[in-house]
């Protein structure tokens, strides 16, 4: 019991991140409305970003901007600063997410112009009829 609680406290963050990812993934797979699918896609991407950012976290450390006074004394210790690498990666990932979002919405607008609806089953119905 004690071990399980310990595990829960150490890992519950990861579990919530994965839950979020799965919510997004479910949205992409199972939703019928195209804009809803796009929302699901964005949730999925953002949850992955959250997972990455949490990797860089160090308890007891501060944000990765080196203070000049410390530098002049020649003691910059990596332990005192949060790992900047995941942040950099995730800046890129956020940009990718917003780019995908823009293109996907443009496509959704085009689909709506053509079929007059955003529901996937109604669109497929129209295609089958023609």
């Amino acid at each position: 019991m004690e071990d399980a609680l310990q595990l829960l406290i150490a890992k519950y963050n990861y579990w919530i991140y994965i839950t979020l990812m799965m919510i997004g993934l479910y949205g992409v797979i199972a939703k019928n409305n195209l804009v809803k699918k796009i929302v699901g896609m964005s949730i999925f991407q953002t949850a992955i970003i959250l997972f990455f950012v949490s990797m860089g976290m160090k308890k007891g450390a501060t944000i990765p901007i080196v203070v000049h006074e410390e530098a002049s004394h020649g003691v910059i210790r990596a332990v005192d600063y949060i790992n900047p690498l995941p942040h950099v990666l995730m800046l890129t990932a956020i940009v990718v997410a917003v780019s995908t979002l823009g293109v996907a919405l443009a496509l959704a607008v085009r689909v709506y112009k053509k079929y007059g609806t955003l529901e996937e089953d109604e669109i497929l119905e129209q295609i089958r009829k023609s």
Partner: protein
């Protein structure tokens, strides 16, 4: 589809959670992620690039190649939206609406023999009724310069504080999007033409890639900003810092122009008329 989705999601989630058992604890300072590669970035950033913000130095220098493509991604998205949505052969409508700004009256002009657009007190409208929000307009007029100033600060001060080209560019773009929402897209486009936007976005990314190519021409590796020391009379470390600033400006330009381009095309379905 719903059941299939649920099954896939549960399975994937279970597999992913099963693997977390081996992860280092959340926020563990001794995890491999914080021990192997990243300490160098923190310990050497001042010494090697003279940029205190480790995120900026890693973003624009150590992994600057990633960032170049990050900017390219957003450029590609802007070009894609433009290409997918923009309508060129616009049918000229038979009747055009104008609003008399002083009285708020709407005129419907059937045949546009003489254009009213030159006259100061008239404003073109697309739908029959759009609200004439004097408070909103005046307030945005006041706000926008400050937003833009802040954006420029964010770009310029990215070396020492959170922020940088990307964030600043987005804020700069958002200020013009705000103008397009609060007034209408036509007056926003009067300030910055579509052609200017397209040129700016291409120019911004070219500044980034061009800085890298300049280093190549100066005999170093691609994106090795230290090579710039040969042309600007500073030491290599200062040249790195300057190179980072240069590419941040490029990123800011590209991101600003692209965000506005995407918004304009999305919000008017490519007609670039009144917008929302």
């Amino acid at each position: 589809m719903k059941i299939l989705g649920l099954v896939i999601v549960t399975l994937t989630g279970a597999v992913l959670i099963w693997a977390t058992g081996e992860f280092p604890g959340w926020g563990d300072p001794n995890s491999p992620a914080s021990l192997h590669v990243s300490p160098r970035y923190i310990e050497k950033t001042l010494e090697e690039t003279s940029v205190p913000n480790a995120v900026t130095s890693v973003l624009a220098d150590y992994r600057g190649y990633d960032t170049m493509f990050e900017t390219t991604v957003i450029f590609a998205a802007g070009v894609s939206c433009f290409m997918l949505l923009r309508l060129f052969a616009g049918q000229e409508p038979e009747a055009v609406h104008y609003r008399h700004l002083l009285t708020g009256l709407t005129l419907r002009v059937r045949r546009r023999k003489e254009s009213l657009e030159e006259l100061e007190e008239f404003e073109r409208m697309d739908s029959l009724w759009t609200p004439h929000d004097i408070i909103l307009r005046t307030l945005c007029r006041f706000l926008i310069p400050f937003i833009q100033l802040f954006a420029l600060y964010v770009i310029a001060h990215g070396h020492h504080s959170p922020g940088g080209g990307f964030q600043g560019g987005v804020i700069l773009g958002a200020s013009l999007i705000l103008l397009a929402i609060a007034q209408d897209m036509r007056s926003a486009l009067d300030r910055v033409r579509e052609r200017t936007l397209a040129m700016l976005s291409a120019l911004g990314v070219s500044v980034y890639a061009g800085t890298g190519a300049l280093c190549l021409l100066l005999g170093s590796n691609f994106l090795d900003y230290a090579a710039l020391a040969k042309v600007i009379w500073v030491d290599p470390v200062g040249a790195r810092s300057l190179g980072i600033f240069l590419v941040e400006v490029g990123v800011g330009m590209a991101v600003m122009a692209t965000m506005i381009l995407i918004y304009h095309n999305l919000a008017s379905e490519g007609r670039l008329d009144e917008g929302l």
